[in-house]
């Protein structure tokens, strides 16, 4: 937002991504403008195929836009090459995938320390930080477990810890609870809530309204474009009792 003291954590203008040509031209993302303030949690919801995953990949530098500009922090990333994008992913952006994408031959702590090692930190420092983060996500007792020995919710928590290892400006989550059951979803929700409390900026793409309801802002997306926006910081029209039909 222009005029505020701290720059937006994420800003995109006129973003679009298209595939194919002529008659087969498809715009997966069609003219998106987005601004996320630091410390905000933004949820992007929409039916499958609406382009929300593509949008997230663009924002995280995992894919190149066909047009438009993206800034992370103060830095424009839309014209960076793969090398520059890799640097952004090392230091500024943490990504959480629906399929977790953990290395199944590495233990939880080895998985979490990997981005730090890739960024060139010493193995000792990386290990220390990884253990810290696993503790923070509540998996201190599962540090040496292989992913195959962890439940879905635990695996996603490892993935979230991994996304945090570089202390990124921005965490992007693509359907983080897509592969999880209700109880595991609650685990992840709690974690996101805690992250929000500590001031982490989060952008979550989901079709699960439970996740969306924890955000500050909820943006609806259809056919590649934003269609509405809801701010969820206000109180409800009734007390909790109304939820079960108790008149207050």
């Amino acid at each position: 937002m222009p005029g505020t003291d701290s720059p937006a954590a994420l800003r995109a203008t006129g973003l679009y991504k298209q595939y194919g040509k002529d008659a087969a031209l498809v715009r997966a993302v069609d003219g998106v403008d987005l601004e996320v303030a630091p410390g905000e949690t933004v949820a992007i919801m929409g039916p499958s195929g609406c382009g929300k995953s593509t949008l997230l990949h663009l924002l995280g530098g995992l894919d190149r836009p066909s047009g438009g500009e993206i800034w992370i922090g103060e830095r424009s990333i839309s014209h960076l090459g793969e090398r520059g994008l890799a640097r952004i992913r090392r230091h500024q952006v943490g990504f959480v995938f629906q399929a977790f994408h953990l290395m199944d031959e590495l233990t939880a702590v080895e998985n979490v320390e990997l981005p730090a090692l890739l960024a060139g930190r010493s193995p000792r420092a990386a290990r220390r930080r990884a253990k810290q983060l696993l503790d923070r996500v509540g998996l201190a007792d599962r540090v040496s477990f292989l992913p195959s020995a962890l439940s879905g919710g635990q695996r996603q928590r490892v993935a979230i810890a991994r996304a945090l290892v570089a202390d990124p400006l921005l965490v992007l989550a693509d359907e983080p609870t897509g592969n999880l059951d209700s109880e595991a979803t609650l685990e992840v929700l709690r974690l996101f809530d805690e992250l929000h409390e500590t001031g982490q900026t989060l952008v979550i793409v989901t079709h699960d309204s439970r996740i969306a309801a924890t955000a500050n802002r909820m943006i609806g997306m259809r056919d590649g474009a934003f269609v509405d926006e809801t701010r969820l910081t206000g109180g409800t029209s009734g007390s909790l009792g109304a939820l079960i039909g108790l008149e207050g």
Partner: protein, 611 residues
């Protein structure tokens, strides 16, 4: 019947769905089959040239010759042999005039001129491979001499008597003759005559055929030694050596076909040697690389096995489906390879004429076709069998998850790699993740390097041997046959290198493909494309280096087995050069697909993997 159709349909569908895989495999099998068929065609023909020539020319069992000091008709002692006990047929006596000077292309060489009738003889009728037989004014040149002097049918040469005994002398009464034909013969003159040393170091002088009258002219002109030769056919060819010893006396000398055969066997032209060795090496390399490729492809079929089993196919049907696909590719590849071999084999021999020393072009006879197809099927079948059995035993669930081996903690490599710079970190973990793939790469490279080193040793050995004389018929550079031999060696080297390259490309490409998902995740976590590219090269080299080093003993073994020579040690600088070159090529071949892949946006790759 329904099952067969189903299998056929599934196979066709899979081949259509993964065309690149199928095409690569087909290329490998075709390359293997074509080299194998060329190898077999040449090998069979080259290894027994004498027997083939003998059969084609109605070669004699005994050759008798008698030197004459003065002019006159055929000696009675020689002619009497025609009626000796045990003789069933003969041709001659024919006049041998030597040395006769043959002048062509500015050079003059002494040759033996044999006088023949224009009609066909019953025993030892030289087989014409180009042009026609003798006629007045014409000369038919023996095959190897024609090669040496680069003579073609229709050319004009000069023939005349000569008194050149190697000490330098003059030519007398040269006349123009036209080369009417080129022929091969199984008859070689007995010792005193064949000991006539050609100034250029021939073990035997060259042979030409002219009309009886022309030969008489040469013989009479100089008044020097000449001879009559008689070809005999015996009732019992095995008794030829005894016959020869029995009738040997004084100026009459005889030689049996067995001795000639041994001599011919000893005298291997450099070209023949190259063809033998080269074809064997190529054949071996082809077989090995196809086997490795097919074996490694089986790894990727595990998920398909899972899907089939989940759909209810019993293990036998699953195995059949896997086998059927490989067999289809094997048979098609073998057929294409045979066609290529049929086209290429004649090119490797004397253009326009037939193989050295043997009449007739190397055709792909039925046994060769049978062997190639059988080899392709056998390789495909064997390489499929073990993995197919293993795959169909794996539990369906594991197969669907596409991890044929459960992920194991790679304790040491994980710990060690953490301390290495990023590209080596990623590379080492990649290599240890796919141990079987790494082993296959190493084996492939070992065999490739081995073949190259064997070839290198052969070149070394053949160059070193020229000074030994005896074993090789022709001396060295400058000799057209030597040059052609080296040309053929070059062709084989190129073929070997091409096959080695195809092998290397397949190996490196497979490594990069394999590592796609892992490298995409690493990139998503912040590894830069350069780091990932270097990592892939490092991972490939980690398996290529031990493979290349292993190739040295492999090469020595191959050379001993194939080259039929005593073992020698290859020269150190050349070995080092081969090793370095191989590693550099492997690194480059990995770097290219790695770099291309590393430029793709991460999201594309990840989505393709989870799709």
């Amino acid at each position: 019947m329904g099952k067969v159709l189903l299998v056929a349909r599934l196979v066709a569908r899979d081949l259509r769905h993964h065309p690149t895989q199928a095409v690569l495999l087909l290329v490998a099998i075709t390359a293997g089959a074509s080299t194998l068929s060329v190898a077999l065609a040449l090998h069979g023909v080259v290894s027994q040239p004498y027997a083939a020539t003998r059969a084609a020319t109605a070669g004699p069992d005994v050759v008798a010759a008698m030197q004459m000091q003065r002019t006159g008709g055929p000696p009675a002692q020689l002619t009497a042999l025609k009626h000796a006990p045990g003789v069933t047929g003969s041709s001659g006596p024919f006049l041998l005039a030597f040395p006769t000077a043959l002048e062509a292309g500015g050079n003059s060489d002494p040759v033996i001129a044999e006088g023949r009738d224009t009609t066909m003889a019953g025993v030892d009728q030289p087989k014409v491979v180009a042009g026609g037989w003798v006629r007045p004014g014409g000369v038919v040149v023996e095959r190897s001499l024609a090669d040496l002097l680069d003579l073609k049918v229709g050319e004009w040469v000069q023939l005349g008597a000569s008194n050149d005994y190697g000490s330098g002398g003059g030519q007398i009464a040269m006349q123009r003759f036209q080369v009417t034909g080129i022929a091969v013969t199984a008859a070689i003159q007995p010792s005193p005559i064949s000991n006539f040393m050609h100034p250029s170091g021939f073990a035997e002088p060259g042979l030409v055929w002219v009309t009886q009258s022309a030969a008489a002219q040469f013989a009479n002109a100089e008044g020097g030694p000449f001879a009559y030769t008689l070809n005999l056919k015996l009732a019992n060819p095995a008794a030829a050596p005894a016959f020869a010893t029995a009738h040997q006396s004084g100026p009459l000398s005889l030689v049996s076909w067995q001795s000639i055969s041994v001599k011919e066997g000893l005298i291997i032209s450099i070209e023949q040697a190259v063809l033998l060795t080269g074809s064997s090496l190529l054949g071996l390399l082809a077989l090995a690389s196809v086997a490795l490729l097919v074996g490694s492809r089986m790894e990727e079929q595990t998920r398909r096995v899972g899907l089939l089993k989940a759909a209810g196919a019993p293990p036998s049907v699953v195995a059949w489906i896997l086998l059927a696909e490989q067999l289809v590719l094997a048979v098609v590849g073998a057929a294409i390879g045979l066609a290529i071999g049929w086209l290429v084999a004649p090119l490797l021999t004397n253009p326009g004429a037939s193989l050295v020393g043997v009449p007739g072009a190397p055709t792909l006879d039925l046994p060769t076709v049978g062997i190639v197809i059988a080899a392709a099927i056998a390789v495909a079948g064997l390489a499929t069998l073990v993995p197919a059995i293993r795959a169909s035993r794996v539990s369906t669930v594991r197969a669907l998850a596409d991890s044929p081996t459960p992920p194991r903690r790679r304790w040491l490599s994980t710990k060690v790699s953490a301390w290495l710079p990023v590209p080596l970190l990623i590379g080492m973990r990649l290599a240890s993740r796919r141990k079987r793939r790494a082993l296959l790469s190493a084996a492939s490279i070992a065999i490739t390097v081995g073949a190259l080193i064997a070839l290198l040793m052969f070149r070394q050995h053949s160059q070193a041997v020229t000074s030994m004389g005896g074993l090789y018929r022709f001396s060295g550079p400058g000799d057209p046959l030597w040059d052609r031999g080296m040309q053929v060696m070059l062709v084989f080297t190129v073929a070997l290198v091409v096959l080695a390259l195809v092998n290397a490309i397949l190996v490196t490409w497979a490594t990069v493909q394999d590592a796609r998902h892992t490298s995409a995740v690493e990139r998503a976590l912040g590894a830069s494309p350069d780091q990932v590219g270097l990592a892939l090269v490092a991972a490939q080299l980690l398996s290529a280096l031990p493979g290349a080093i292993l190739g040295i003993p492999v090469g020595i073994v191959l050379y001993v087995a194939v080259g039929r020579h005593n073992s020698t040690v290859p020269s150190v600088p050349s070995v080092v050069a081969v090793l370095l070159l191989t590693l550099i090529v492997v690194a480059l071949l990995t770097a290219v697909p790695a770099r291309i892949g590393a430029r793709r946006p991460v999201a594309e790759v990840l989505q393709a993997e989870t799709a």
